[in-house]
Symmetry: C2
Subunit: 202 residues, 2 copies
DNA sequence: GTCTATAGAAAGATAGAC
DNA sequence: GTCTATCTTTCTATAGAC
């Protein structure tokens, strides 16, 4: 189909970012050339520079957008009142949100080392803000007596690693539905932060 | 210091692999050039091809060696008899082994997509063999009544993701010693697979 | 066993035509 | 807004001197 030479700025920009996201996730930032991204969109490499100053900014924008959407979505989520209800909401939210965006998640975790130091700091700060959301819930539950974890910070990191790990194996149409996966992980998390008496470790 | 032009094959090979491992972990496989590896060792790029047929094989050998050593070390580890003792042994072993080899671990998880399809299959098969070790323990404990997990396979994946996550934040000389970290994670894992009655989910 | 030199391909980014 | 053409650099891998 012949390509019209009219104004497509409003649609081409998102298409460039979408193509870059798909390719970065599949092949890795360093292995993807600007020519390859252009080909995916159906344009020439030179024209990409109308939509991004350079390749690095393309990567940074993808990661920044992903993390900002993550924080916004959690802020808008139904959470319930007690620490227990909030933790369940967090577990289910995290799995659901991350499974819906496998490419963005993959990039956010795998391409940190390809950011310039300045960009890395900005992304890290967003990531820590998200971590703090979970840590606050765990701290609250610890104080209310709902939870009994040996170390709040480590529990935060352990839970996030465990939940994000779902993305590495979950496949649509597999043995388990998303909501079943949510329930199974919630069961394990709930028990892990729970008040088993043998939990008092030295 | 002047470089002698004698026979160094037995020492240069390991130095090449060591330099590649360090650089792949730090910058990513695709971002590291053969020139950069050669410079790290103190030789010319052309000479690298005496020790590896190509860059891909260098990556594959690093990952294969890492996973074979992992399987061997676990096979040789003290495990105890019951499922509970074996699970504790696995948790502590996994954290200890992985914290001792951050570069190899990082590469094994981040560079899978840079393997050729054939090499990928061989690496995946080793990784699954390790996963099966943990799954067998969980299944045994499930049958003996020591554990009560809603899904053995998911518990396997969740625990491994959680434990491997330690590598992303642990820093030598930080707030917690390695053995303290082991104990904290063992506490969470033990509870997560435990027999909390509310664990019976639909 | 390591070097220099280089072939051949491909990269990021820019200039200027249309 | 997109194209073609190109500058400059860098890449993997090989050839052949020593």
């Amino acid at each position: 189909m012949a390509r019209k030479t009219g104004s497509h700025a409003q649609i081409t920009g998102p298409r460039v970012r979408s193509a870059a996201q798909k390719l970065f996730a599949r092949m890795g930032y360093a292995a993807v050339s600007m020519r390859r991204i252009a080909a995916e969109v159906g344009m020439q490499a030179g024209a990409l520079y109308l939509y991004t100053p350079d390749k690095q900014t393309l990567l940074f924008d993808l990661m920044k957008t992903h993390l900002e959407e993550l924080l916004q979505a959690w802020a808008a989520a139904e959470k319930g009142k007690g620490a227990m209800a909030q933790l369940e909401a967090f577990v289910r939210f995290h799995i659901r949100f991350h499974l819906a965006r496998p490419d963005a998640v993959f990039i956010a975790y795998m391409e940190l080392r390809n950011l310039t130091p300045e960009n890395f700091e900005r992304i890290e700060s967003l990531r820590r803000a998200y971590e703090n959301q979970l840590e606050a819930i765990l701290r609250q539950g610890q104080e209310s007596g709902d939870f009994r974890v040996p170390d709040t910070k480590l529990a935060t990191l352990a839970i996030i690693a465990m939940l994000t790990g779902v993305n590495t194996w979950y496949r649509e149409g597999g043995r388990l539905s998303r909501s079943r996966v949510e329930s199974i992980y919630w069961d394990m998390v709930r028990k892990a932060v729970g008040g088993d008496d043998a939990a008092r470790i030295a």
